[in-house]
Symmetry: D3
Subunit: 306 residues, 6 copies
């Protein structure tokens, strides 16, 4: 099996992998590099400085301009649009084009628009018609114009409150219920230090998050954390590299314990939401894992050791 090019298609590149098919009215320029087993549908246009991994699908009406980088098994829906110049003017070619990166396993829905310079994370899902202005963390689901993060792909939604471990590993993430005292003077909620599975060394709180934005999207190597929605509400995706779960933090009486080597993303903040985080370690940039693919590798090693 080798490359298939439809009689009405034009393929000028010799860097196309085995099993890839190029259909009618598609046009591939000489510099493009395309992996194996890809499907380049009718009417697709691919410029020169473009790299596509293996097993990608590019549906009709899509153009891939200089500077596009697509990983393995990426799906680009029909009429989805990219560009490489954030402020285009005719005859005013920029010194260099911006790179747009779509990581492995990500999908882009029909007629979506991806602004130049954006990075679409591993396994992300861009909804049909969405306009993506900002980088998209791994596995995020994005919809709307402007694009807002509304979910975490393939995550199981959990009913709150869930008090038991949600992981099969020892000391997995779990919700912790606090004591709440409500009387006519107000409500007091106490987090006794002894109910934390770690000693608190650092505290931070987050507010003024725009609707549709996300925080987190990383794992810690050693740091344990407790998240609480002290005002408003938010969602937390929790991912052990194998399965992912969604928690809805809707009030200050419950905290979410996050042990090390758990990838987590927070999103779906209500207006005025404030999240408090209690952490077991001082700030240390080296404690963060911010690359999802690297996290998955390490998480598997970590799980194997258990």
């Amino acid at each position: 099996m080798t490359v298939f090019v439809h009689p009405a298609g034009i393929c000028e590149s010799s860097h196309v992998g085995e099993g890839t098919r190029i259909w009618a009215f598609a046009h591939v320029l000489p510099g493009a590099r395309i992996g194996r087993d890809c499907n380049i549908c009718d009417g697709v246009f691919i410029e020169n400085d473009v790299i596509i991994g293996d097993a990608a699908t590019i549906k009709s009406g899509v153009q891939l301009w200089d500077g596009m980088r697509l990983g393995d098994q990426v799906f680009v829906g029909p009429n989805a649009s990219f560009s490489n110049d954030p402020f285009p003017r005719s005859k005013a070619r920029p010194a260099s084009f911006m790179q747009t990166i779509v990581e492995d396993h990500a999908s882009i829905g029909a007629n979506a628009t991806i602004l130049p310079g954006v990075r679409i994370g591993y396994g992300a899902m861009i909804g049909a018609g969405a306009v993506v202005l900002n980088d998209v963390p791994a596995r995020s689901i994005v919809v709307g114009n402007p694009g807002r993060i509304v979910g975490y792909a393939e995550a199981k939604e959990l009913d709150a409150p869930v008090r038991d471990r949600i992981s099969t590993k020892r000391d997995g993430p779990r919700l912790i219920q606090f004591q709440s005292h409500l009387d006519t003077r107000g409500r007091l909620i106490a987090v006794e230090g002894h109910i934390l599975p770690f000693e608190a060394k650092r505290f931070y709180y987050i507010d003024q998050v725009m609707a549709g934005s996300a925080r987190g999207a990383h794992s810690h190597r050693r740091c344990h954390q407790l998240l609480v929605a002290v005002a408003g509400q938010m969602k937390v995706a929790v991912d052990d590299g194998e399965s992912a779960y969604l928690f809805q933090l809707s009030g200050p009486e419950v905290g979410l314990y996050l042990p090390p080597m758990i990838w987590s993303m927070q999103f779906g903040y209500s207006i005025g939401a404030v999240s408090l985080v209690i952490a077991s370690e001082p700030y240390d940039a080296n404690d963060y894992i911010t690359d999802y693919a690297e996290f998955r590798k390490l998480a598997r090693l970590h799980a194997a050791r258990d």
Copy 2:
């Protein structure tokens, strides 16, 4: 006259009706079935499991995927985008594709996006750039991302209050003014039974309608109704199968009488709106006509009898 295929177009199907034209860089796969007098413009792509009625227009840059069903005189604007997989992943072909149905006389504006599985009703009008997530009732006008119902195609807008019949038929739909008593304790609005053109047997009220959603979109065979906006505001499209009218119900002092054999859709609900309906009959599922084409046929018979 027979099928026209531009020399730079490709038509592999033999199920194309007389008078249909297929233009340059368009590509029709063998399994597609296309009616008579259609116009398939430059660059259109049509897959196999696609059925198109008569006299449809498919503008440039449109793809029709397996599972699309388009009725007679459907218009699909340039670069409008469909899809058949709600959560696409490369190389992960679903067991079956979702059907998307566009009923007779509906139009889809330029660059609109239609999510898989949606049904676009008879005569609906999807605005340019709209992203349609949900089924669209007959003759609805939809705009925005996400798509919201904002009108009823070809309906005449009526100034409220209009107290006379808006129909040329006896006992047609009309606004009824109620007596209102306002004092320092609040406002009381009375609907004396004798001013209703029927005896009340059932009451229901509707609230929590999302902005952009619609209710109704059906006719009754025997049931008379009175609609009142007891809180907030809403619009009511009233259609006798021949002409359509738009009422703005903007306060509780006016009710809209709807006789049987009138198709009606409510939309444009303000936040917190509540509509009260007083009905002449107990609930009876057989009294509803929910197919607009069937309604039009029956309404013509009904009108002829008058």
Copy 3:
């Protein structure tokens, strides 16, 4: 037993009933008429054109000016203040003074202020420090400045939903649960005619009630009614002449059935609240009983007949 006047008190009237006591530094002018068994405490001042019923208590620091009319068993707390001129200017005596009426069994709390011309209904309870600007229906509880109706004296608060009869009489007032259908298009709540204990002949709805105001405060002789909070919330006091109950109507899925010969007052309206009433009779002014004392007499006869 006869009238007691403390040696340091002054009583110039000869129209004081048996058993009444007048204490030190109190001063009763000649024209005042005071019933039997009253208690006129230290420092009270009573002008000429004043009538007080039997068994009333007037605490210290109170003045009763020309035009005051107090019923039987009225309680006036210490330093509570009345006046008889709404826009007083020194040396500008009005042509006539406004009457202020306090009906039988009503109580006025310490340091409350009653504006001239107000009528305080049977059994009402004015809270300490309240400033009363408007007439107060029978048994209402009023607090604050300006005074707001916040309760119904001696009513039992009932947990909603209560579906059984709350009265020991046949066909007493009760809550009725309706069927509710919620989906993505909104919520529809149906009141099928056959679940009503009467045939509907009239409908009215009430909105724009100011916080702190009340509606109702009457009974019907023959008319049955169903009350529903179609938007917002309100409280309903229900009184059979013997016992009183408080219902909280907090949503449209429950209606309150009110049979004839039940006194009812609605209050505690939230902002934007709308109440719908379905009635068994056309409007008839003669069907209303608006005097609470008369209602109590008729209700006892009615109960005796059962």
Copy 4:
């Protein structure tokens, strides 16, 4: 020097302390017990079951009913009104009257109204015309109808941010500034553990405080605390038994450190305010001092030791 009674006054009690004066038209019943050096002004009425401490001032137009207990140096302004029956009805005497307690050094403004059963704390200041429904913590300033806590008597207001010690004692209360990071994703404020003057062992947060309510009003014996307004705003009164200070916490970038043996009260909460507290000790009921007089004694001993 002995008791002075004005010729137009009446004193029937023999339990009146030396130096106390009773003025014209005042009336003291036989059972009342009044301390030394009190001033009972014109027109005051004092019933039997009343106890008043030393050096109190009772201005004109005040009545003290059975059940009133007033401490030393209490001031009661003119026409201020008490009562001892929460739901008074004429001729319906309750089984027992409610006690109202006014602690040492408290003042009650002109024309204020105190509901029965309320305790007014040590040194509190009730504003003129206020209507007091609830207990009042020590030194609170209360105004309005209903009464709201709006200040702390004799506290000095401090401009924020004040970063130095506000006390002359070592390790006194002080504000601590945090680092704030604001970007398009939101704002992150970090409290690194090493900037706290203690190790964190307990955390709690308080929300839903009604406007006009207060929290705290106690001291700790050993526990250190850090207060932060993570949402909204609040005021904190800080009292070392000698001087008192007022802090306005108006944003999450500044925390207030409270060492042991500092009395503190929080009030003036904005709607939606949330305060976070980080504490140095687990919860221990014995660590609390909730009696202000006791606190003052201990604080003086504590200060003497320093």
Copy 5:
């Protein structure tokens, strides 16, 4: 005719004017000075450092403390309460008492509370039960706790828009309609310089006025002004020394022209209201008349000259 003192009253002062009557249980201390034709009702108490003008009425239950100054024809309703120490503590007599001034023709309603140091302006009207915290401009009507300015005594309310002169004098105050241009981009309202009856030399705008506060309450000698409610709404009392009128400025399309020698007070500001003033003169402190009595005299001279 001479001073009348009731046998049960006590008058120790010899500075009481002819025709004044002092009733039972009233008590006037030796230093008090009271004008002619006053009425001092039952139970009133008047201390030494008190001055009262002619023809005043002091109703029962009122005390006038050291430092009170009441003008001619002042009316003080029953149980109205004054004080002279803003932060009273028993046995802590301030160095000097605060003066409270009630100007000529002012009235104070039943049970009102006047804080120490307040000045109640000429002809003001304090409502029953009001608690007055701040100075009250001439002729203001004040109600509530805390007291809010809600009217201007004896002013005629005018329907807007009134385009003609409201005064019988040349060039009197009047409303001026501006040209407004509304389209989909917004509204533009133009004040052409030539439609102003003066040349503009100064501009100022006022916002953040608390509900219940007032601005103005003065006249200019030479300065002309134009007032516009550019955001929100407000009321303007306009007084030529003879008659007073009330304008409701409810939108930016109408301005109120105020010529010199017109007294004006602005109040009833809605939340967020902003008023713009265009003035004919630079700021000059000598141009202001802030004493209402002086204004009335000058206005009469001014009117006589016309």
Copy 6:
């Protein structure tokens, strides 16, 4: 050099300028007129009644329908969509198609949608994925669905307050700080006439601007203006024909002085924003320059004269 047509492209027009290139699968109908040095990319379709200026770029997936008029150096991004029928129905061809005009130097981002009949002004920038419903002023930046004006192309953002000249010309635009007086009665901000660089002859204020709309977009020949945000906030683009600047007016204490021969556009209005303008001249229609190209020519002459 002459016209280049790719072997797989179709050019049926003979009105194509020198140096223009037409790429594969593009199709130009016979009536189209295209200028010099244009780039017509793969898959573009151009109907007959279309005029394109010189040096334009039309990216892949774009169709230009009858009625489109594009100026010089226009850029149309990939898959951007036009249409010429506002309410398209299949087989219902309108009597005439609407014209859509894109002026010189304007750019349209990837996948944007332009409604029929819209005029896109000189140098405007339509963001990727935007849906443009209304005319777009010169140099406006438009994003979103529906499209909103959010910027002014190539303008420099200035930090407020900037008190010096922002222009190299004498008497350029600049911010002026006013004096502000805040007390308990509210805030008063005075603009003394002598601090204005001109005599005030006209005033106007603008409110109710919809979010996303713009005002202004013109220059004056002789009129000087001062802009103040008396309520809310807004942005002002200021353009001297050479450079452009952006001011953020965020409060009433600062005004923006605009001399003649400065083009200005206001946008980014907050809800409830009100801008006041003080102008040096009466209204004169001839004083306005509303064509941006004409303004640039005159501004250069004007600058040369300086």
